[in-house]
């Protein structure tokens, strides 16, 4: 019978190496006893001994007193036992995914309908909405967003006009910068840039606000105070969004066209000529549909932000995930809706 000495200096640095050496030594002999005279039962030594006993049960055994210390009792595991689960088949997984998606779509639809219903009901019944909350929301959603909307729309308008001017100049068509800037901003980019900025800036904050309220039991508290959370939370935001988005879009249009004006002055086009051409290409129809689009985008951003916030389950990390998802989904839905508008209006 071979005696294997268990070293006294097993630790986190050498534990794996010592285990391999001991395992090799044991595997080369038929019967083995441990020399535990110098052993220090720290966590790593105990783990090495457990592993050796588990892997060579017929060759090694530990004295009772050592075994008692080395093998911990796992008597509480029963409460964490999970049911034996068979991985669901492909079609079942697809079915479950579609069913969950259907549930979410229904909930989103309910939020959208409730939001619009309660918002118009608010015009006749002011109950469940805080005074001045619409103004406060309009201030944060609209007024505070003016600088960033103006700056980004100006830069995008400037860049697009510059790129276009370079190409138009080759054909002597730089005089069309005004028309191009006006049309592209009022028809497409004005509402779209504004919606993307608002989705990133305000949509995320709505999700974070409502999500935190869910986690902190504030939404439950509203319900049990007899206050409709949808109405309390969404109606002021709905009206703030509805009033403020067209204004922000108008600011984005002006900023983008101003970018075009700067480019046209670089190409020696007189300001008067630019303004005349801009007014000629400015159609009421485009401004009207731009406003309709901006309001639709606003409602989508609000509904997605609220939907993601109200669906938060868990803690702070869940709020973070929901906020990210809210921005991604809002921007996707805004772009998709814009594409639908384009198909309807311009084809």
């Amino acid at each position: 019978m071979k005696t294997v000495k268990i070293p006294s200096d097993i630790d986190f640095k050498n534990g794996d190496k010592i285990y391999l050496r001991l395992a090799e030594e044991i595997s080369q002999n038929d019967e083995v006893t441990f020399d535990l005279s110098e052993v220090k039962l720290n966590s790593v030594t105990k783990a090495v001994l457990r592993k050796l006993c588990n892997n060579f049960p017929e060759k090694v055994s530990l004295p009772d007193d050592i075994e008692k210390e080395v093998n911990y009792i796992r008597d509480d595991e029963s409460q964490f036992e999970e049911k034996e689960s068979v991985p669901p088949q492909f079609f079942i997984r697809v079915g479950e995914y579609v069913y969950a998606l259907y549930g979410k779509a229904i909930f989103f639809f309910v939020i959208m309908v409730d939001m619009i219903y309660y918002s118009f009901q608010f015009l006749f019944n002011k109950k469940f909405v805080l005074k001045h909350d619409t103004t406060r929301n309009a201030y944060y959603i609209g007024y505070k967003a003016i600088p960033i909307v103006f700056l980004l729309a100006f830069l995008i308008g400037f860049t697009i006009a510059l790129q276009a001017a370079i190409q138009l100049a080759k054909m002597g068509g730089q005089t069309y910068i005004a028309m191009m800037s006006t049309m592209i901003m009022t028809k497409e980019l004005g509402p779209l840039i504004t919606a993307i900025i608002v989705a990133g800036r305000t949509g995320s904050s709505i999700t974070a606000e409502i999500g935190t309220m869910v986690v902190m039991e504030e939404v439950d508290a509203l319900k049990t105070m007899g206050i409709k959370p949808f109405k309390f939370l969404l109606v002021p935001k709905f009206w703030a969004f509805t009033l403020v988005m067209p204004v922000l879009t108008m600011i984005a249009n002006i900023a983008g066209i101003t970018g075009g004006l700067i480019v046209s002055t670089i190409y020696n086009i007189p300001v008067n000529a630019f303004i005349t051409q801009m007014l000629d290409s400015l159609l009421m129809k485009d401004i009207f549909w731009g406003t309709v689009k901006s309001i639709s985008f606003a409602w989508v951003i609000l509904a997605v932000g609220s939907f993601k916030g109200l669906n938060v389950k868990g803690g702070a990390d869940a709020v973070g995930i929901a906020t990210t998802e809210s921005v991604v989904v809002s921007i996707f839905m805004v772009v998709a809706l814009d594409a639908i508008f384009s198909i309807i209006l311009y084809t």
Binding site: K126, K127, M216, D220, A221, K223, M225, F232
Partner: protein
């Protein structure tokens, strides 16, 4: 005041409470106790409708309550709830939080009078001077007191307390208990308290309901609970004596 008969409730398909029955008299301090995860908070949430029960009957002042109730229901104006996290609306000051049930349910009500009522309730919980502070500027104990002021503002018939001492030091927890008791004796409002804090139970409980293994293990007066022969009840009140060593 409140009668619950054969209430079964849970989450999804999981049953947390099965056939729970009890009744609470007017003005009573009724404490629901039990180990963590036994369903104390679920029972409270089932009664108020946050977790609609699977089956069973709830009678409030002899009227049957069928959940889910619409938020406008009178039931929600006759109850107050003190949540574990206090659940004060963080964007509103303490005074606005306390006024919230008035301004929401009675928008035509004079704002000045609503402020006066909120001030009275805040004074009752010694928070009058903090009325213009936001919840995040308050300590844990102050938030709980503020939430109690809000729960009291519509003069409810019953107040539900969900682990009111959670996260508080023993001194603050004692002060809060004494405040609860003082207000209960002053206004005869019925209390439904969910807790597992022994000191708090000793101070507040008149009647107790102990839950274990999804059902009612004991129901009776606090004094009877102390004398009970049921092992889990004895262990709960004398945890060192009856628990195994670790």
């Amino acid at each position: 005041m409140l009668r619950v008969e054969n209430l079964t409730a849970g989450y999804g398909e999981e049953i947390v409470l099965k056939d729970v029955s009890f009744s609470i008299e007017n003005g009573e301090r009724f404490v629901v106790l039990g180990e963590s995860g036994c369903g104390k908070s679920t029972l409270m949430k089932a009664i108020v409708g946050l977790v609609p029960p699977f089956s069973g009957d709830i009678f409030f002042k002899e009227s049957k309550i069928v959940h889910p109730l619409p938020e406008e229901s009178d039931f929600y104006q006759k109850i107050g709830i003190l949540y574990q996290s206090s659940a004060l609306i963080t964007s509103l000051t303490l005074e606005e939080n306390v006024m919230l049930p008035i301004t929401m349910h009675y928008p035509e009500f004079s704002l000045k009078t609503a402020k006066d009522i909120a001030g009275e309730k805040l004074a009752m919980v010694n928070l009058y001077k903090a009325k213009n502070k936001l919840p995040q500027e308050l300590s844990g104990g102050m938030k709980k007191r503020g939430a109690l002021a809000r729960a009291l503002v519509l003069d409810p018939d019953i107040i539900f307390f969900d682990e009111p001492q959670a996260g508080l030091d023993p001194v603050t927890a004692r002060e809060l208990d004494l405040l609860f008791i003082k207000l209960n004796e002053q206004f005869k409002t019925t209390y439904f308290i969910v807790t597992h804090e022994l000191l708090s139970i000793r101070r507040s409980a008149q009647k107790v309901l102990m839950l274990a293994d999804n059902k009612v293990l004991f129901s009776g007066t606090y004094e009877d609970a102390l004398k009970s022969d049921i092992y889990k009840v004895k262990r709960f009140f004398n945890v060192d004596k009856y628990s195994k060593d670790v």
